[in-house]
Amino acid sequence: MSIEFLIATAIGALTWAGIYLSLRGRTFPVVLGIAMLSYAINLFLFAIGRLKVGAPPIFSEDAATYTDPLPQALVLTAIVISFGMTALIVVLALRSFLETGTDQVDGESDPAIDPLEGDHEEWIARRNAHSLDMIGETRA
């Protein structure tokens, strides 16, 4: 199998998984989906400079051919940005879960999956206390 086939398949599979996951209703799969999509993009950007095996990107005395260095610089930028964005959205999803008591992206809790018992605010208070406990345990 050629390397082009492998890379193209990998990009396709990652994109498929990314689209499926980012269309889910809860924040965690969505975050994963966006991460998958950004992996797919990184591979894609890398491949747009054409795939050359064993060729240096910038300068080498004994190089017969070079690979395109620009896509590699683009991938680096894209990785940095998507990494920061993933961190931000994870924190934000957690915060919004703790404040609203649901991790549905639309912010409306689904009684079938959200363990809501009794008063909503009481549940949030319990939830917050529980997470504080968990932080305390890991620190101890």
């Binding site: 747009i48 896509p71 940005i81 931000l88 999803a93 912010g107």
Partner: protein, 511 residues
């Protein structure tokens, strides 16, 4: 020696709209905790400075062809260039006006006290906007888009609260997906043409073999889809109403310009990639956007929702004019663009004042007891409404007239005229109903107990400043339309830009 230094400085002024907010943002980050007033002062001074710089740059761009500024002295197409032309300078001026109004509104109303980082994030937002308007490189455009988006994530969450968090998550997910598509489009375009410089890409795109042409256009369409997402064009508008109506209204006022970044990018890239047939896909979507936006205004139950839908509708009107991609349409669009941005920003600032001065009803369109300052607010709401709906005497009327005039020869003219005129009527009805309910109807219950302080009328100054800008745009309509006409001619004159940015026509494709 001193002559060359001053010449260098004058050339470097092109980079100033990026340098000034980045320095001001960093400085106000240092002072934000200990000396809050100083941080706010830095932010406002920086906004004033940007206004002055933008005016200087516009004056310079009027008398010269597009001027490239090579970052790090690497010439295009190898290095990244900033390109100053009339369109970029026009957008910079608009950004500076709205930025100044919003920064001072935030400082006056104490919005910047609801979190530590308002002013630093605000300056970085301006940095991203200015950079996106100046850059001549497609990947650099992506980077500046990310800068302004990251700052906007901070601003949209400013003040917090459960509703803001939920809609913030949605806003970020939508925009991250948009950025992903942007990168795919960039990848395809680079893979086909081997360049990221916009001018160089236009040149190489025109010289492509037919086999590559399809891929090139697919990349271009994907790019336009991303910009349409930012501009909230019809099928991609769903994120906007909720995000803008749950953000702090002053922040939403600044975001009025974010939809215009999408419109601006379409103006910039579509003719480069598609040549003459750029607009055919945009027009039906833009017409639908107008209808949806102004119908949404009619259905809104709060003033903030109403302003958000008004923003969608007026951006749709703008895109109708852009979709023509001829000199008349573009010059009408460039006259209407600052008008609609300023009008929407003014409406959002007014709504913020209503929320602050009125008490517990917030922005709901319901009658309330009389409240102090309602006369001034009613005046502001009336003028912002007149401007947004496009009634005389303000510039919205002239802008819509120019757009209608520019579309008269197109085959779709009946549809365009029908949509714009009927939706203007819808907007008038919606605004009149909301305004008379909020400001004229008073429920019979006795006035509020006198516990509340009288509102600080100075808080209305930024909104009045925007009104003054609208009046200026109306009074100076003659010079302004001459300017937009020459700007439109410059934007559509691709060979001129190519020559200015790349110097000599580049040798054949290296790939």
């Amino acid at each position: 020696m001193s002559l060359s230094v001053s010449a260098n400085l004058a050339a470097s002024l092109i980079a100033a709209p990026i340098m000034v907010p980045s320095l001001a943002g960093t400085l106000s980050l240092i002072f934000r905790r200990r000396r809050r007033a100083l941080a706010a002062g830095i932010s406002i001074v920086s906004s004033l400075l940007q206004l002055a710089i933008a005016a200087l740059l516009l004056a310079r761009a009027l008398h010269s062809p597009p001027t490239p500024y090579a970052m790090g002295n690497w010439p295009a197409p190898f290095g990244i260039v900033l390109v100053l032309d009339q369109l970029a300078a026009w957008m910079l001026l608009l950004t500076a006006i709205v930025g100044l109004a919003v920064a001072s509104h935030a400082a006056l109303t104490g919005l910047d006290r609801k979190g530590w980082n308002f002013h630093p994030i605000f300056q970085f937002q301006l940095l991203g906007l200015n950079g996106a308007f100046l850059t001549g490189d497609l990947f650099n455009l992506f980077v500046f888009f990310e800068v302004l988006l990251i700052a906007s994530y901070g601003l949209i969450l400013h003040g917090q609260g459960a509703r803001r968090l939920t809609s913030g998550v949605q806003y970020i997910v939508v925009n991250l997906t948009g950025s992903t598509l942007f990168l795919i489009a960039l990848g395809i375009l680079y893979g086909v043409t081997g360049t990221l410089n916009m001018a160089d890409m236009a040149q190489r795109g025109a010289a492509l073999v037919p086999g590559d042409r399809g891929l090139f256009e697919a990349g271009g369409l994907l790019l336009i889809a991303v910009f349409a997402l930012k501009a909230a064009l019809l099928p991609l508008h769903l994120w906007l109403p909720r995000a803008y109506s749950s953000a702090a209204p002053a922040v939403a006022a600044l975001f009025a310009i974010m939809t215009k970044v999408g419109a601006y990018s379409i103006i910039r890239t579509a003719p480069l990639i598609f040549g003459d047939e750029a607009g055919a896909i945009l027009l039906p979507a833009a017409l639908g956007t107008i209808a949806l936006g102004f119908l949404g205004m009619l259905a809104a139950r709060g003033l903030r929702d109403m302003a958000a839908f008004g923003l969608i509708g007026s951006t749709g009107t703008l895109l109708v004019a852009i979709a023509l991609f001829d000199a008349d349409g573009l010059s009408a669009a460039l006259y209407y663009l600052p008008h609609t941005t300023i009008a929407a920003a003014m409406l959002f600032l007014t709504v913020d004042l209503v929320v602050r001065w009125r008490g517990m009803e917030g922005d709901a369109i319901v009658p309330t007891p009389r409240f102090a300052g309602s006369a001034l607010l009613a005046f502001l709401f009336l003028t912002a409404g007149v401007a947004l709906a496009g009634l005389p005497p303000l510039s919205g009327f002239l802008g819509k007239l120019l757009i209608l005039d520019a579309t008269i020869a197109t085959p779709l003219a009946p549809w365009i005229w029908g949509t714009i005129l009927v939706t203007s009527l819808l907007a008038v009805v919606a605004l009149a109903r909301a305004g008379s309910t909020v400001f004229w109807k008073h429920d019979a219950s006795p006035p509020r107990p006198e516990g509340r302080e009288a509102p600080n009328l100075a808080e209305a100054l930024p909104a009045l400043f925007l009104l003054a800008a609208l009046v200026a745009l109306t009074v100076l309509a003659g010079p302004a339309t001459r300017l937009t006409r020459s700007t439109a001619a410059q934007v559509l004159d691709t060979p001129l830009t190519l020559h200015a940015v790349l110097g000599e026509p580049a040798p054949g494709d290296a790939r």
